[in-house]
């Protein structure tokens, strides 16, 4: 894409890149404060139980123990969604999963803290527990629900039900020439960021609380800390050191953040808690297991007529983002294909397991798996190449989806062509020898949400920028750097607009005392919103510098260019001055130079129905994948040879970072497809509800030897509202990984994998079934010749 930008669109380093590669980068657990105590949390051994009593007296009497707290010390519920606060920092009267926190201690060292936990006596009355979401949904109240019903006669296990219908669904299915109806299951998976959660609390003994945390959402943490600790927000400072990976796993407050704060108030000393890896698995908030049922209709010539979905979400013990997840399970499916009619009926239930929440591609990765496999089945039924089927249903750009979401730029057709060509699709599909196959899938994802988590009219993202006499630019950013590169994005924009070398931009970040509010790193919102805020601030400063320099040169302000460390006259580039001198000229003219910039979302681009705002985004990204696999029918082992990823990111502000997001997403989806399972023991195999494998060895995720070759193909659609046309790249590219692999397995051996994960035993069972059915053969190629897209 041709561009008038000097830096934007070129490969650039990250502002904190060298600090990370030399070991200088500071993460939360790297911080030690004078007199700091070690905190630990006592966790429930029961999946569901009443707390009868807690006796902390023996722990409190121990030498070196400075504070012990229980749920009674913070009896206020919290939750990321303002309408569903259902968690206490420490359980008050009931524990709801193995690993739920019941008490916390602060002691002089870790050994003492652990000994103190052993000295806390908790008496429980065990309760029957719910593990299978189908049982939880069918509960009649004869045993206690996971949470008390909000109304007499309701099922307290149900956290959210959403039923939405657009168009004539049954009529659309009736008029379809083919209807594919199947059940799908998406197993739960977890984020497994390599950095465990960590927090430090420091009470100043009078009226100020400082909390350092490895969080993706410092602003929401700030608000919830104030509520639970009963302090004013103005008393609290949240600091966010660099975050060692998150993927949605650090996008709401966790028990440790409240506990370090309260323990610091109780002890008068700073307190740190670092989760063990096992505790990270209990904290979870990972991908919900979904039971899905789809009916999808199409005409003989391959046009979708109607889609009907029924989904059961296994939410685990608490609400988390579940209200949103339940909506997203249906709302985000309506592009990139045109749906004449669509209905979804989604129910999220509580179970006595660690709470599920948002993981990269929140709520939409699961239905995307099912739906892209449905598309593959429909294409086969109507004798079309699956690429052609997708093209015939392309929704287009500058349009509305059936559920009334506004789509602006849309590069999905280019994504399809890119992976089709790069993968050599036409020479491979249905043509590779038995055992080897290719599969395709597509997807869309949001670039942030038009409505913030708590209702307000204020900007969603903002920065402050100042320029000084040395030529430096300082950017104060409250955005959450979790590895995706948002600190670098604001630096690139400042350097681009103000003409300074990238190295002269300082990004001051991660501190609610001196940065304006950004809502956090979730829903792929940061580049889009922060980028626009940064352009806003930088443009204001640029205009002042241009105006001041123009006056001294007696030229028009628009003729003054700021680039490459100089102010230059466009008419005669020999007329120039170093940028620092230009800043001095501007400071002389206008006084000290600073500007704020902000971005807020459009609010009038959604359907006027209940829930119509959920899923509404200022723009949508699009992705297509082709996966090529080998399937060994004797063992069930699937080897993914390569994944081609084409992603419409609007504009690649820095192609290195965009490719990194695409590759990381494809890798993560690949891991979910083939290996990852966040599962729990049943009573026959240990303690019911106990996490099966809370370690990075037993929770299988891809190593360098497992991960396939990944090829990134950037597609630029230049979004009209994105910063320089940019859209998201961090979550969208995950979605098609899983269905593309499922469809490739089918192409290889004729076995449909409708249940995740595609582990060797699961694939082997599918192979054996196909062998018994006589369908273990290479599927037939489409008879109809594909019609090329325009």
């Amino acid at each position: 894409m041709k561009s008038d930008k000097r830096l934007i669109g070129t490969p650039m380093r990250k502002v904190e890149g060298l600090a990370k590669s030399t070991g200088r980068a500071v993460y939360t657990d790297d911080i030690t404060l004078p007199g700091m105590l070690h905190g630990k949390i006592l966790r429930s051994p029961h999946a569901h139980a009443r707390i009868i009593s807690i006796d902390t007296s023996r722990a409190e009497a121990m030498e070196g123990v400075h504070a012990v707290i229980t749920g009674q010390d913070m009896p206020t519920t919290y939750g990321i969604i303002p309408w569903t606060p259902d968690e206490y920092p420490l359980c008050v009267d009931r524990v709801r999963y193995i690993g739920d926190g019941v008490a916390a201690v602060a002691a002089v060292d870790e050994d003492t803290a652990l000994s103190a936990l052993d000295a806390i006596d908790v008496e429980y009355e065990e309760l029957p527990a719910f593990f299978d979401p189908r049982d939880a949904a069918a509960a009649d109240g004869s045993t206690p629900y996971v949470h008390d019903a909000r109304k007499e006669g309701w099922n307290g296990n149900v956290t959210k039900m959403v039923q939405l219908e657009f168009g004539e669904v049954e009529a659309g299915l009736a008029e379809a020439d083919v209807v594919v109806e199947d059940e799908y299951f998406f197993e739960g998976t977890t984020h497994a960021a390599i950095e465990p959660h960590c927090a430090i609390g420091q009470w100043d003994g009078v009226n100020r609380m400082t909390v350092w945390s490895a969080t993706q959402v410092p602003h929401y943490l700030h608000r919830e800390l104030a509520r639970v600790l009963e302090l004013d927000q103005a008393q609290i400072r949240v600091l966010q050191p660099l975050v060692g990976g998150a993927f949605g796993g650090k996008s709401e407050p966790f028990d440790l953040e409240f506990c370090v704060a309260k323990l610091s108030m109780a002890s008068g000393r700073p307190v740190k808690i670092l989760y063990t890896r096992e505790e990270v698995f209990y904290a979870h908030r990972g991908r919900h297991p979904f039971h899905m049922h789809y009916r999808t209709g199409a005409t003989r010539d391959g046009k979708l007529t109607s889609v009907d979905a029924k989904i059961l979400l296994d939410g685990g013990a608490y609400a988390s983002f579940g209200l949103v997840t339940t909506y997203y399970s249906g709302q985000l499916l309506c592009a990139p294909y045109e749906m004449p009619a669509y209905r979804f009926d989604s129910t999220r239930v509580y179970t006595n397991k660690p709470a599920c929440g948002p993981k990269r591609g929140h709520g939409s990765v699961q239905p995307r798996f099912a739906f892209e496999v449905q598309i593959d089945k429909l294409a086969e039924r109507v004798d079309l190449d699956p690429f052609e089927f997708r093209r015939r249903n392309f929704i287009g750009e500058n349009t509305r989806t059936i559920n009334e979401l506004r789509v602006t730029s849309n590069g999905f057709l280019d994504c399809l062509s890119s992976v089709e060509l790069a993968s050599g699709w036409s020479e491979k599909f249905r043509k590779l020898p038995f055992g080897r196959g290719v599969g395709v899938a597509g997807s869309t994802y949001i670039c942030g949400t038009n409505y913030p988590i708590y209702p307000n009219e204020m900007p969603q993202s903002a920065v402050q920028m100042q320029i000084d006499r040395s030529g430096r630019v300082a950017v104060f950013s409250g955005a959450s750097e979790i590895g995706q590169g948002c600190d670098s994005v604001v630096a690139y924009i400042a350097a681009e607009e103000l003409g300074v070398p990238l190295e002269w931009v300082r990004v001051l970040r991660g501190d609610t005392d001196f940065t304006p509010v950004d809502l956090g790193a979730y829903s792929s919102r940061v580049t889009f919103m922060l980028g626009n805020a940064a352009i806003d601030a930088a443009t204001k400063l640029r205009k002042m510098v241009q105006e001041a320099v123009a006056k001294t040169w007696d030229v028009a302000p628009g003729e003054v260019l700021l680039a490459g460390g100089f102010a230059v006259w466009a008419q005669d580039t020999s007329r120039q001055m170093p940028i620092a001198e230009a800043f001095n000229v501007a400071e002389s003219a206008f006084g000290t130079l600073g500007a704020t910039g902000w971005y807020n979302t459009p609010k009038d681009v959604h359907g006027e129905y209940r829930g119509g705002t959920i899923g509404a985004s200022p723009a949508y990204s699009f992705t297509a994948h082709v996966a090529e696999v080998d399937v060994d029918v004797d063992t069930g082992i699937v080897e993914v040879k390569k994944i081609w990823v084409a992603h419409d990111c609007g504009r690649a502000l820095n192609p290195v970072l965009v490719e990194g997001q695409m590759e990381g997403s494809a890798y993560m989806g690949f891991g979910e497809a083939l290996m990852e399972e966040h599962i729990f023991k049943d009573a026959d195999h240990g303690r019911a509800g106990l996490h099966n494998a809370p370690s990075l060895l037993d929770y299988r995720m891809p190593t360098s030897l497992d991960t396939p070759e990944l090829e990134s193909l950037i597609v630029e659609s230049i979004d009209p509202e994105g910063p320089y046309g940019a859209k998201e790249a961090g979550e969208g590219p995950l979605h098609p990984s899983i269905p593309a692999i499922a469809n490739a397995i089918y192409d290889a051996v004729g076995v449909r994998m409708d249940r995740l994960p595609f582990t060797a035993p699961n694939v082997w069972r599918g192979v054996e079934q196909a062998r018994a059915d006589g369908t273990l053969v290479k599927p037939a190629a489409p008879v109809a010749s594909p019609i090329a897209a325009d």
């Binding site: 890149g17 060298l18 990370k20 960021a193 990976g245 990381g664 190593t703 360098s704």
Partner: protein
């Protein structure tokens, strides 16, 4: 609870340190919490993730599984010891240039594994790189940019070695 402490002598990044630590401390705990060398990371504390990888006598070693007393008298290099007064190690520079560190938490361990690989094999193949990194989990990158960075660093080191030989 009082834990028994003793003085351990460690040679880390060229310096000899004498430091009192509990007798059950690991090398990782000693580096991070006694010596303040926080570059080496703890991701799992049980040898699964590789974020704590350091070089002990040149061999990539999981510091979280190494009792500190086993490291006494040996030569230890951490991520902080890869750079010299002349600047960052070519691997460190290429990780930055290639976007090989996203969140950066696995990076110190991966750099130590990669440095040992290049010491033993100046021109590793892609497969040899994958094998050398198989004990280091990265959750961000899908490993692709990490391979690019190691290959670029290998080329730079090899080129400068050939220049010196001329």
């Amino acid at each position: 609870m009082e834990s028994k402490q003793e003085i351990v002598r460690l040679r880390v990044n060229g310096d000899l340190h004498q430091v009192g630590v509990p007798t059950h401390f690991t090398l990782l705990e000693t580096l991070r919490y006694a010596l303040g060398l926080t570059g080496s990371k703890q991701g799992c504390d049980k040898g699964d993730c590789g974020a704590c990888t350091v070089l002990v006598d040149g061999t990539p070693t999981l510091a979280c599984l190494t009792p500190v007393w086993e490291a006494e008298g040996r030569t230890i290099v951490t991520v902080e010891g890869l750079a010299t007064a002349d600047g960052p190690h070519p691997l460190q520079d290429e990780f930055d240039r290639n976007g090989a560190a996203q969140c950066g938490f696995c990076t110190p361990g991966i750099l130590c594994s990669a440095a040992a690989l290049l010491e033993a094999n100046a021109t590793p193949s892609r497969t040899e790189i994958q094998e050398a990194l198989s004990g280091n989990l990265c959750r961000c990158t899908g490993y692709a940019k990490i391979y690019d960075a190691i290959e670029a660093a290998a080329t730079r080191i090899d080129d400068s070695a050939q220049d010196q030989a001329k």
